[in-house]
């Protein structure tokens, strides 16, 4: 199974980046082969808006079946769902630790986006 982990660096010992859309890097990990590749997210890091949506599109294009990250907003969540990607928010520690949490079943998929406060999401988009 192919899994994307949002990461602050380019290897398995980097910390998980809690932000999805504006994650520093996407680490694509193949649980069958143990191989990983790093995919920069520079373009979305500086995007004025829509970073989550575009990041979700990247994850779908990488053909990942699951994504491990800290927090996924409503638009990115809808996009990942449309691409049939299983979303595991709440990942912490290093990428390696997050993958282990997934393997052991401690990191559960979310049924809905982790944004409690839709109002703050709207305010965040106001100035663009």
């Amino acid at each position: 199974m192919k899994v994307v982990v949002t990461a602050q660096g380019r290897d398995l010992d980097s910390l998980v980046d809690p932000r999805f859309g504006r994650a520093r890097c996407f680490l694509l990990f193949d649980t069958d082969t143990g191989q990983s590749t790093a995919h920069d997210n520079v373009q979305n890091l500086n995007a004025p808006q829509g970073a989550g949506i575009q990041a979700a599109q990247t994850v779908v294009q990488l053909e990942a079946e699951a994504v491990l990250t800290g927090h996924v907003g409503p638009k990115a969540f809808a996009t990942l769902q449309a691409g049939r990607v299983v979303i595991h928010p709440g990942a912490t520690g290093t990428v390696r630790q997050a993958l282990e949490e997934l393997r052991s079943g401690r990191l559960q998929p979310a049924a809905r986006h982790s944004s409690e406060d839709d109002h703050s999401q709207r305010l965040a988009g106001r100035n663009e």
């Binding site: 808006q49 829509g50 949506i53 599109q57 779908v60 638009k75 449309a82 988009g125």
Partner: protein
């Protein structure tokens, strides 16, 4: 002539200058229109107190995908500068709250699968304040994209000798939309570090857009002299200076125009109008 009034920093006196300029020009027997382009929080009406004669909805065209014709090629998603379209698997998702209604997606779609449908985003109000013709846009609460509403305000501008566009603060899309196509841009600033910082951003914007512009220093006797030093170094014309006066704040709090209530401000605004009309080099 179309004069846009912008600032970078908020609260420097755009509406004070814009309403006063409209009022002074109208008193001078010119046909004048005041357009409130700050559709997220229009406040010119508080001072001009217009009689609203017509109110109509503002719609923005929103793309809708015909999933039967869509081949999921992703060209619309690549074309969208606002990241409002995602093409994933067998679905094309459109996030209308991010859409600027530019129409690019429907232009690039090779299958003709995107059509645009109107979505109400606010109201256009037109009327008159004495001799000043008045237009304002009011964006619905919760609506994030103001440029389509600003386009509606500018589209409703009457044909007059002098059009004053009261712009939103900042230097982002709403301001660009407001100032685009103006004959002269007035950047209202205050002589403080914050005022200067945001003035520099506004100057960069004006230069990028190749607009004729000049500076109005409001509350000119507070703060420091950095704004003057900067304008001299950059060869930017300071077209007017309005002194700090408690009477202006008092008039403002009563909803009166500065030029209407404070004679020396009216004098400065008249001077500004003359400077502009004499074709000052800016």
């Amino acid at each position: 002539m179309k004069i846009a009034i912008a600032s970078g920093k908020g609260g420097t006196g755009k509406t004070t200058v814009a309403t006063s300029l409209a009022w002074v020009a109208a008193a001078d027997d010119r046909t004048v229109a005041y357009l409130d382009c700050d559709v997220e929080e229009p406040n010119g009406h508080l001072f001009l107190k217009p009689q609203i004669l017509r109110e109509e909805p503002i719609n923005k065209p929103i793309p809708v995908v015909d999933q039967g014709r869509c081949t999921y090629c992703g060209l619309c998603s690549q074309a969208c500068r606002y990241g409002a379209i995602a093409c994933v698997g067998q679905q094309t998702l459109i996030f209308t709250e991010l859409c600027h209604a530019c129409g690019g997606c429907s232009l690039v779609c090779p299958e003709n699968a995107i059509r645009e449908v109107p979505k109400p985003i606010g109201h256009l109000r037109t009327g008159a304040s004495g001799p000043v013709q008045f237009v304002e846009g009011v964006l619905n609460v919760g609506e994030a994209m103001s440029p389509p509403a600003i386009r509606a305000v500018k589209g409703a501008a009457p044909n007059v000798e002098l059009t004053i566009l009261d712009c939103p603060p900042g230097t982002s899309c709403p301001v660009i939309e407001s100032v685009r196509g103006c004959d002269l841009l007035l950047l209202v600033t205050e002589p403080t570090p914050f005022g200067l910082h945001d003035l520099k951003l506004a100057v960069e914007m004006a230069r990028a857009l190749r607009l004729r512009f000049g500076v109005v220093v409001n509350r000119a006797d507070v703060g420091d002299r950095e704004v003057w030093d900067y304008c001299r170094r950059q060869r930017i014309a300071i077209l007017a200076e309005i002194p700090d006066d408690r009477a202006v704040a008092e008039a403002y709090s009563r909803g009166e125009m500065a030029a209407e209530s404070v004679p020396h401000v009216a004098e400065r605004i008249r001077g500004l109008l003359e400077t502009i009309q004499s074709g000052a080099r800016v």
